[in-house]
C-alpha cells in the first residue's frame, strides 16, 4: 500500500513538474471590422541601444535557459523570468509595472490592451514575424485591435474531448456525451474549472439550440448566458470532477474516476497510455493561443523587442512549442527536422481546417464581438459571477 501511494505521489510530482503553470491558455477569434475603444499609446518607431535586462512574465516552459542563455549572449540582455499560473495573475503582475513582457493568452490580452497596460507593436521591428506565421494566428482579435497589432503569436492549442477507450469503446463524434443527462458516462465526466468554460457550453448550444442565435461563444447576451449556465448546471449533476490543475486532470483519468471530458493534447500525451484517445467533436471546441506583449511602461523596450524577435524564429519558437506541447506559431519550424515535422503533425500546427472549428479564448466584453449592436453582451465579471452558481 505504501509503495502504491509513493508511486502515485511520485507520478503526480513528475506530472506537476512537467506542467507547472500550464494551466495557462487563452485566446480569441477573428472578427473583422470590429472597433474597440483603447487608450492611445505610442508605438516604438525604431530600435535603440540594448538595455541590460528584460523582465518577463510567462507560462511555465516559455522562458528556459536552453534558449534564453543564447539570447543573453547575443544581445547582452539578462533575462529575468517570472512564471505565472493563471491569466488573471499575469494581468495583475503586468500592472505592477515591474515587467517588460508577458506571454498573454487571449482571455488576458484584451484586458491588458483596454487597460492601457501593453503597447502597440511595430511589426517592422520584428523581422522574424513574417510569412511563415501560420495563417490562423495573424490579426486575431486577441492581439490585434482596430488594425493595430499588440502581440506576436507564440502558439496555440484546442480544448479537445479526451476519452478512455476501455470504457468509451466507440469514438464519440459529439460533445453530447459530456453534456446530456442521458450520457452513458454520467458520473464519469470531467469539466474545466474556470469561468471561461462557459464558452464550451455556448459552443455546444451553438450547434444544438440554433434558436438561441449564438454566433460567437464569447459574445453572449444575458439570455444566451442564462442558457449556457443552465446547461452547465445540468452537466454539474453528471460530472465526477472539475479540473484546473493539469496534474489533477491526469490522475483523474489514470485513476479511473473519469472516463471522458475536456483536455489538452499535451495532457493526453502525458498520460503515456494509448488507451486514452482524443477527438475534436463535430461541434468544434474552444482553444487558446498565446502572444508576446510589451508593457506600456517598459524600461527595456529594446531588449523586449529583441526577445520577441528572437523567440519568433523558427528554431526558438519551435523549441517553446515543443517544450510546452502546443502548435507553434512559426510554420517554418515544421520543416527543420523529422521530429519537428512529427510535432507539427501531432499538434495540427498548419492544419487551418482543424483550427477553423476552434474558438480561441477571448475576454468577453460588453460590446458584442460578433457584431451585434442591438444588445449588450455579458462581460467577464458577469461570467465569473454566473460561474459560481454552477457548482453551488
Amino acid at each position: 500500500m505504501r509503495s502504491k501511494i509513493m508511486t502515485g505521489a511520485a507520478f503526480i510530482a513528475v506530472a506537476a513538474l512537467a506542467l507547472t503553470g500550464c494551466s495557462a491558455a487563452t485566446d480569441s477569434t477573428a472578427t473583422g471590422g470590429l472597433s474597440i475603444d483603447v487608450p492611445d499609446i505610442p508605438m516604438l518607431e525604431e530600435l535603440g541601444e540594448m538595455e541590460s535586462e528584460v523582465n518577463i512574465v510567462a507560462w511555465s516552459g516559455f522562458v528556459e535557459p536552453a534558449w534564453s542563455d543564447a539570447f543573453t549572449e547575443e544581445t547582452g540582455c539578462t533575462v529575468n523570468r517570472r512564471v505565472a499560473g493563471t491569466s488573471d495573475e499575469m494581468v495583475q503582475l503586468m500592472r505592477t509595472g515591474d515587467y517588460d513582457l508577458v506571454s498573454a493568452s487571449g482571455d488576458a490580452s484584451l484586458r491588458l490592451i483596454a487597460g492601457g497596460d501593453v503597447q502597440p507593436i511595430n511589426l517592422d521591428l520584428v523581422p522574424n514575424f513574417g510569412d511563415d506565421i501560420v495563417e490562423g494566428m495573424k490579426g486575431q482579435i486577441y492581439d490585434t485591435i482596430n488594425g493595430q497589432s499588440y502581440g506576436v503569436p507564440i502558439g496555440r492549442g484546442a480544448n479537445i474531448l479526451q476519452y478512455n477507450s476501455d470504457v468509451v469503446t466507440e469514438e464519440p463524434t459529439s460533445w453530447d456525451v459530456a453534456w446530456e443527462l442521458d450520457s452513458p458516462y454520467a458520473g464519469e465526466i470531467i469539466a474545466y474549472d474556470a469561468p471561461i468554460y462557459i464558452a464550451d457550453a455556448a459552443v455546444y448550444l451553438m450547434a444544438h439550440e440554433p434558436d438561441l442565435g449564438i454566433t460567437n461563444p464569447y459574445a453572449l447576451d444575458q439570455e444566451q448566458l442564462d442558457a449556457a449556465i443552465d446547461l452547465l448546471k445540468q452537466q454539474n449533476t453528471i460530472v465526477s470532477e472539475y479540473w484546473a490543475d493539469p496534474a489533477a486532470q491526469i490522475t483523474s483519468f489514470a485513476g479511473g474516476t473519469t472516463s471522458l471530458g475536456t483536455s489538452w493534447e499535451i495532457l493526453r500525451k502525458l498520460t503515456d497510455d494509448d488507451k486514452f484517445k482524443s477527438v475534436l467533436p463535430e461541434e468544434g471546441s474552444t482553444g487558446w493561443s498565446d502572444a508576446w506583449m510589451i508593457a506600456t511602461e517598459s524600461e527595456s523596450p529594446n531588449c523586449a523587442y529583441a526577445w520577441v524577435d528572437y523567440t519568433s524564429s523558427a528554431e526558438v519558437n519551435g523549441a517553446i512549442a515543443t517544450n510546452f506541447g502546443m502548435a507553434p506559431a512559426n510554420a517554418a519550424f515544421c520543416d527543420t527536422s523529422d521530429e519537428a515535422a512529427a510535432h507539427c503533425e501531432y499538434f495540427n500546427a498548419t492544419d487551418e481546417e482543424y483550427f477553423s472549428n476552434v474558438w480561441f479564448w477571448t475576454t468577453p466584453i460588453e460590446q458584442c464581438i460578433d457584431g451585434r449592436t442591438d444588445v449588450t453582451c455579458t462581460n467577464f465579471q458577469q461570467w465569473t459571477d454566473a460561474w459560481l452558481s454552477v457548482k453551488s
Binding site: 501511494i5 505521489a9 484586458r111 474556470a194 485513476g255 459560481l388
Partner: protein, 275 residues
C-alpha cells in the same frame, strides 16, 4: 525608566508583528471590500460601494457555499472529537508506556509530511481504482469517490493531531485517584467517562475544536483535489482574488464572522480562560 525601556524592547517585536502584519492586513482587507472593480479591465479603484456585499447576499451561490463550508467544518470537528476522546483515554489510561509512545508518534507523524502531499495521498486513496476501492471492493463496499464526504475525511485526517494531542494531554493530567474514587463509588467505565472525564477535558476539546473548525473553514485545496464538484468559501475567494479582489475581500469576512461567533459562544462557557 530603565524598566520601561526593557519592557518596550521586550514587546517591540510581538507588537510590530501583531499590529503590522495581523491587524494592518485585516484592516486593509476590510477596506478593500468597499472598493470597486472595473468590469472590463478588472482594475481595482479605491472608492466606497456596498455593491460587493449586495452581490454576496443577492447571489444564492454565496449563501449555499457558506452554509456548506460551515457544515463541513462542523462535521470535521465532531468527527475529530469522536476519534480523539476514545483514543486519548486508551493512550493515557490503558496502553502500556511503549504502545503509548508508538501511538503518540503515529498521531503526530502526519504533521511532519507536507500538506499538499497528504491531500494528494488522499486523492490517490479515493480515486476510482485507488487503495480504498481495491481493498474494500471485494467486500462489496465502494468508496465515496470525490465528494463532500471525502473532503470531510481528508480534512479530519489533516487536522486530527490538533484535536488529539490536547485531548490526550488533558486526560494524561487527570489524577488517577479520580478514576479510583469514581469506581469505588460504583460507577462503570461509561459512567465515569461521561460524568468525570468529559467535563474535565472540555477545555481541551474546545481548544482543539478551535483549530479543527477554523482550519477547515479556510481550506479549499482539499475541496479542489478530492471534492469533485464540491465548492467551499475558499474556492470562491480563490477564483475571485485576481479578477475581483473587492468581492473576494467582502466574502472573506464570512469565515471571519463564523470564527468570531464560534469564539464568542465558547467563551460564554468559560472554556477559554482555562485553556
Amino acid at each position: 525608566m530603565n524598566r520601561r525601556a526593557q519592557l518596550s524592547a521586550l514587546l517591540a517585536l510581538p507588537m510590530l508583528w501583531l499590529i503590522g502584519i495581523y491587524i494592518f492586513s485585516l484592516v486593509m482587507l476590510l477596506v478593500t471590500a468597499f472598493w470597486v472593480t472595473d468590469p472590463f479591465t478588472s482594475k481595482v479603484k479605491p472608492g466606497f460601494t456596498l455593491r460587493n456585499f449586495e452581490q454576496i447576499i443577492a447571489n444564492p451561490a454565496y449563501a449555499t457555499t457558506s452554509l456548506r463550508t460551515l457544515g463541513i467544518a462542523l462535521a470535521v470537528t465532531v468527527l475529530s472529537i469522536l476519534i480523539s476522546v476514545p483514543l486519548g483515554i486508551f493512550m493515557a489510561k490503558v496502553a502500556s508506556p511503549k504502545l503509548r509512545a508508538i501511538l503518540a508518534v503515529a498521531i503526530t507523524l502526519p504533521l511532519w509530511a507536507g500538506y499538499l502531499v497528504k491531500i494528494l495521498a488522499m486523492r490517490i486513496t479515493f480515486t476510482e481504482e485507488g487503495f480504498f476501492n481495491s481493498m474494500l471492493g471485494p467486500l462489496g463496499i465502494s468508496g465515496p469517490g470525490f465528494s463532500i464526504v471525502t473532503v470531510v475525511l481528508t480534512l479530519t485526517y489533516l487536522w486530527l493531531p490538533y484535536m488529539a494531542v490536547p485531548v490526550y494531554t488533558a486526560i494524561r493530567q487527570l489524577p488517577p485517584n479520580l478514576f479510583d474514587a469514581s469506581s469505588d463509588l460504583g460507577a462503570g467505565a461509561g459512567f465515569t467517562i461521561r460524568t468525570v472525564v468529559l467535563p474535565l477535558i472540555k477545555p481541551a476539546i474546545i481548544a482543539g475544536s478551535i483549530f479543527t473548525f477554523s482550519l477547515s473553514l479556510g481550506d479549499y485545496i482539499a475541496a479542489k483535489f478530492v471534492g469533485g464538484s464540491t465548492q467551499m468559501i475558499g474556492s470562491i475567494i480563490a477564483s475571485n482574488i485576481n479578477l475581483n479582489p473587492p468581492i473576494a475581500a467582502a466574502f472573506s469576512l464570512v469565515p471571519i464572522a463564523f470564527v468570531v461567533i464560534y469564539l464568542l459562544s465558547v467563551q460564554r462557557t468559560g472554556a477559554l480562560e482555562r485553556m
